[in-house]
């Protein structure tokens, strides 16, 4: 708990991470709906299509700073002190993860609010909203843990920041912004089978009533898989980096 408080304080003290997590996706959304939107879908319905993708993009941006936070903790002498105190030093990672979850859910709420202002008209039932937030929370948890592992693997905070950018690229190669069917033949399998597409399709279905089909299970499966791998990876890397030598 104390570590969660610490990480939340960190977030509030470094507002650039929070601004980045909210402002950037919001600007991208405005860009896509107001600037490109007319060309992509002249009837003005593009906002409904793109919002679920923006929500995931937002979660990605927000989680990325976890990699830098974790790398910073491993660099400083702080971790050595934690390791000589009578608790599991790994809980410092959990603190960052929970703080990221809170931070990103707040950011998601704000992004949805702005989306409604520019014409997003979801028709999900309360239950579907709950389901959507649960799925987004699961996705944030999974990707945050992945970023935590990246933070541990990176040799310094700057490198952690760099590796993170790779993951942020994934949403563009999914059905987030344009339907997969419009992509060239060779790209389609990648876009269709990468983790983000089913997650986005599920959110779309929950909020707008489009066809979910198998996407729901794929979405849950991907989140669970990413989370599982990332947790194991985090543990192994933590042992390697901050275990007894």
């Amino acid at each position: 708990m104390t570590f969660v408080g610490r990480s939340v304080l960190h977030t509030l003290r470094t507002p650039d991470a929070l601004v980045m997590a909210i402002a950037l996706p919001t600007m991208l959304m405005l860009l896509f709906t107001q600037v490109f939107g007319g060309a992509i879908d002249p009837t003005g319905g593009y906002v409904d299509y793109v919002v679920p993708g923006i929500i995931l993009l937002c979660a990605g941006f927000g989680a990325a700073s976890t990699a830098v936070d974790v790398a910073n903790d491993m660099k400083a002498g702080v971790i050595e002190r934690f390791r000589t105190m009578p608790f599991r030093a790994e809980t410092v990672i959990a603190g960052h993860v929970v703080a990221s979850l809170v931070r990103n859910l707040v950011a998601t709420g704000i992004v949805i609010g702005v989306a409604v202002l520019v014409g997003f008209r979801p028709n999900g039932s309360p239950l579907e909203w709950v389901g959507m937030f649960a799925l987004i929370a699961g996705y944030i948890l999974a990707i945050t843990y992945l970023f935590a592992a990246i933070g541990l693997a990176a040799s310094n905070p700057e490198a952690a920041n760099g590796y993170g950018f790779f993951l942020m690229f994934l949403p563009y190669l999914s059905s987030a912004f344009v339907p997969v069917e419009t992509m060239p033949e060779w790209l389609r399998p990648l876009a269709e089978h990468q983790p983000l597409t089913p997650i986005i399709e599920t959110i779309r279905g929950l909020l707008l009533g489009t066809e979910i089909g198998q996407s729901g299970w794929w979405a849950l499966g991907w989140c669970a898989l990413i989370l599982g791998v990332a947790v194991v990876l985090t543990r192994v890397l933590f042992r390697a980096k901050a275990g007894r030598r």
Partner: protein
């Protein structure tokens, strides 16, 4: 009763044998200094005793607990202040102390009270609500030490506590370290400075190349370099021509001067004569017959050996 016992501890990192069989006994309530140059193995020994590093061989007990078999019990009995200040730069001084208090198991109110006490004791009240990122080196070190004293553990490890500090901060920190033993705390510190060990320690172990080359009280060690100041003779260019130990008496100084003539040093060559405090190098020379930095430093981060002017 010994607070720390070390028997036959060895540790290598790859081919680099950092510790080659160390034996030590630190009496409870004492300030014990590990004195040695960069790469001597001081930090590695501290890390083994604070459960951060596992030894390759040998046994060590801290506050009666085996560091290999009972690390959790050892952790409950110690605090470590490492070479790089383990403070959270984004938080304020008060927040750092409160957070570490809560992590140490204090409830919110006790953590708050303890933080205020320590801020006052270490002269940090004025900076309590400022972010640690804005602190000076001395303030960081003081906060770092304050954090490690939140629970007043029976054994406190200080790894080069004053390296990089100015004279005034060093003096202030020395006073705090001296005060620790007043309530029975045992302090094991590492230093490169004979003067610091002399000022603080009840006993000193001189470490070089991973072995203890001398151990005793500060007076015993200084007696091995003559017990007084060093007489240094230099030429015009500042090159040291001769160095001789004195024992602090006029007769000793005269003997040293006579010794110069015995060395065949022509008086016309000597441009200046000076007396200086014995340094770590002098102790090493006396104990091992070789200068301390004869071997290249391998693992430590600190810059070259130097003696602070107190």
């Amino acid at each position: 009763m010994d607070a720390i016992t070390v028997r036959g501890i060895r540790k290598s990192f790859g081919d680099n044998a950092v510790l080659r069989s160390i034996d030590l006994a630190v009496p409870a309530g004492a300030v014990f200094a590990l004195l040695g140059p960069n790469g001597a193995g001081k930090t590695t020994l501290i890390n083994i005793l604070s459960t951060l590093v596992a030894p390759d061989a040998g046994t060590a007990h801290v506050a009666g607990h085996d560091v290999v078999r009972e690390p959790e019990r050892v952790k409950r009995s110690i605090s470590l202040t490492g070479q790089s200040a383990a403070v959270d730069e984004v938080l304020t001084g008060a927040e750092n102390l409160r957070m570490m208090g809560k992590l140490s198991g204090l409830d919110r109110r006790s953590a708050r009270r303890r933080a205020e006490e320590l801020l006052e004791r270490f002269g940090l009240q004025d900076a309590a609500r400022k972010r640690v990122g804005t602190y000076s080196g001395g303030m960081r070190r003081r906060l770092d030490l304050a954090i490690s004293l939140i629970l007043t553990p029976p054994v406190v490890f200080l790894d080069e506590p004053t390296t990089g500090l100015d004279t005034r901060s060093r003096q202030a920190l020395w006073d705090e370290i001296r005060g620790l033993t007043a309530n029975g705390t045992t302090v094991l510190l590492t230093t490169q400075y004979l003067e610091e060990a002399d000022q603080l320690a009840d006993r000193i172990a001189v470490i070089e190349h991973g072995t203890v080359v001398a151990e005793g009280t500060p007076d015993e060690l200084k007696a091995r370099v003559g017990g007084g100041e060093m007489l240094t003779v230099s030429d015009d260019a500042g090159t040291v021509l001769a160095e001789l130990p004195t024992d602090g008496t006029l007769a000793g100084l005269r003997r040293a001067l006579d010794g110069l003539a015995g060395d065949g040093l022509a008086e016309t060559d000597a441009a200046s004569v000076a007396l200086r405090s014995p340094s770590l190098d002098d102790v090493f020379l006396a104990v091992t017959g070789a200068p301390a930095n004869a071997a290249p430093a391998a693992s430590d981060r600190e810059p070259a050996l130097a003696s602070p002017k107190g």
